[in-house]
Symmetry: C2
Subunit: 236 residues, 2 copies
Amino acid sequence: MKIDNANNSSSNRPTHKHEEQLIAAEEEEEEQMCRTIEVVDLPMPSPPLLAADGDEFSLVPPLNFSMVDNGIFRSGFPDSANFAFLQTLRLRSIIYLCPEPYPDANTEFLKSDGIRLFQFEIEGHKEPFVNIPEDMIREALKVLLDVRNHPVLIHCKRGKHRTGCLVGCLRKLQRWCLSSVFDEYQRYAAAKARISDQRFMELFDISSLKHLPMSFSCLKSLQLFSSASISFFRLQ
Amino acid sequence: MKIDNANNSSSNRPTHKHEEQLIAAEEEEEEQMCRTIEVVDLPMPSPPLLAADGDEFSLVPPLNFSMVDNGIFRSGFPDSANFAFLQTLRLRSIIYLCPEPYPDANTEFLKSDGIRLFQFEIEGHKEPFVNIPEDMIREALKVLLDVRNHPVLIHCKRGKHRTGCLVGCLRKLQRWCLSSVFDEYQRYAAAKARISDQRFMELFDISSLKHLPMSFSCLKSLQLFSSASISFFRLQ
């Protein structure tokens, strides 16, 4: 798999030499940190059709599925039973937070629906051997905030720990108080909630992003952010 | 408090005499079932301002807060600590599912922000004395689905049972399988989950609405529904 760092939004970018170098370095770093699969030049999928006798038709959301914000969803690992439901979301991309390769059936689904996969290989350590890589969460956050990737689904295995940490960091950016961040995390992690995850979220430094005006809905306020610092991947 | 049943979307309405009578009867029924408070002719609230030194500024979502779908939120009872957060949602209305009068501070907040209140007086019975009024949930569902009321926040006291039942019925309309409806209900009700609520959702009859094409996002598909069968309240 190859990644093309050609930037499709170069007209919005700063032209200063030093900044260009910084961006190039950043893109290189992202390349190491994130795998992407993309199928381009496919027509947009047509809207999913529901059976005429709707009573019989059931959509099956993935485990722990929920809407996070406009254009952002979270869940556990989706399987083929969930594909019809996922089609109703008209996803443009998926952020996958596990090191394991994506299953063939899921990859086929992404290809057929023109969905791009951003994979961040975060190990699913159990306590007390926990080491959530802050740099990966930061890069995943950038992909998540880039509205060009919306609608986007974040998932790991069970939608509890890795997904919970990424969503928690998003909430910090959205200025949620910490107790509400933890409350949301615990709603999905339930009996499996980890103190170490909550400590990670508490310590996660958003200062480099604090100049951003953030509200609950990040759609508009992040346009500036996305065009200023996010690279755009495209497979050759 | 008076309710004016003058219909602001009459141009979209059927003109047949019998249908008009049916709609008038329906509006009368809604009048009995739902109290509304509305402040009209107020300018849209300006976007909430965040402190310049963003690190110090914390937004406090209400208990059990979550996004349900585009333009639809759920939570427990909001208090004054949550008002700044609620302003970021730019709510147009609130669906309140308890019989108790709305507190003065909350009513003031609604007035100052031009938010309309739809109150459905559903008692918060505990098992085994449970009797969720299906007709009220059905009327609340109509208000919920009317995009003219979006963004809308649904809340009761703790955002567990009454709110959970209304959201569960919405999910049935969205063709979610029952196990996913229950899974979502249980995520918010946690240790307080009630079999009777889940039985109510299972038995709730969506057949009168089954002709509607529904996807996860109800924004577009429900325009037709809202203009066809929802009355529009306006305070004199």
